[in-house]
């Protein structure tokens, strides 16, 4: 088995601030993902990385940057936090291939004041 760790669990920021979320996995998976979850809107893919040194934009990449530092870690940066923004950011990882199960972390809850 393995685990996905997301830090921090809760993140409170100010409008316009740059904020970074971190994700670590010990499954030895090649592919990692960042999703944004808003109440009533499901999950939307922000960025994903098929293998180390790869970076792909998802459907919601505007306003975000991502970095795959090594195989086990994947960071997401909110480049300029929007006032009253509230969402949960979920990190996931999987083996290669479209049929592979994605394993999810517990999430980082973002609040922007």
């Amino acid at each position: 088995g393995g685990i996905i760790t997301q830090t921090p669990k809760f993140l409170i920021g100010q409008e316009g601030q740059k904020l970074t979320l971190k994700c670590q996995q010990n499954f030895n998976h090649d592919t990692m993902y960042w999703y944004r979850q808003d109440s009533g809107k499901g999950l939307r893919l922000i960025y994903y990385s098929i293998t180390e040194n790869d970076l792909q934009k998802g459907d919601l990449s505007e306003g975000y940057d991502a970095s795959r530092e090594k195989k086990s870690s994947f960071s997401l940066t909110v480049t300029s936090a929007q006032k009253n923004e509230m969402a949960v950011f979920l990190c996931a990882s999987s083996r290669l291939g479209g049929y592979a199960e994605q394993f999810f972390g517990p999430g980082t809850r973002l609040t922007v004041l």
């Binding site: 009533g40 999950l43 893919l45 290669l96 291939g97 199960e101 994605q102």
Partner: protein
């Protein structure tokens, strides 16, 4: 591009009753289909998945889903729900982009099991 529709945002059933959560997908190719569950303050966990073979696929905790190609549907079922099944359920479809995988999720169905 692929997409998923879950028409029932909130579902309430009595403990011991049967359950069906509906899912319809849109994808021109052969889809990979998934159901995930999210318990409060946790990430998502896989319930079951389907790609080919028997259109009725069994998952964890007594859940099953049936793939009906003619209807582009992948409904989730359980014969008898327990209070611990209260959670949010997501249907998802994947399009294999070579070696990568890109899941598209429905908006989720929040299930409440009443005593």
């Amino acid at each position: 591009a692929q997409s998923v529709t879950q028409p029932d945002a909130r579902v309430t059933v009595s403990e011991g009753a049967s359950l069906q959560l509906r899912c319809k997908y849109s994808y021109s190719g052969t889809p990979y289909l998934f159901w995930y569950v999210q318990y409060p303050r946790q990430g998502l966990q896989l319930l079951l998945k389907y790609y080919s073979g028997d259109p009725v696929v069994q998952g964890v905790n007594g859940f099953e889903a049936e793939f009906i190609k003619s209807n582009s549907s992948f409904h989730l079922r359980k014969a008898s729900v327990h209070w611990s099944d209260s959670a949010v359920y997501f249907c998802a479809v994947s399009a294999d982009q070579g070696t990568g995988s890109k899941l598209s999720f429905g908006k989720g169905a929040k299930l409440t099991v009443s005593p």
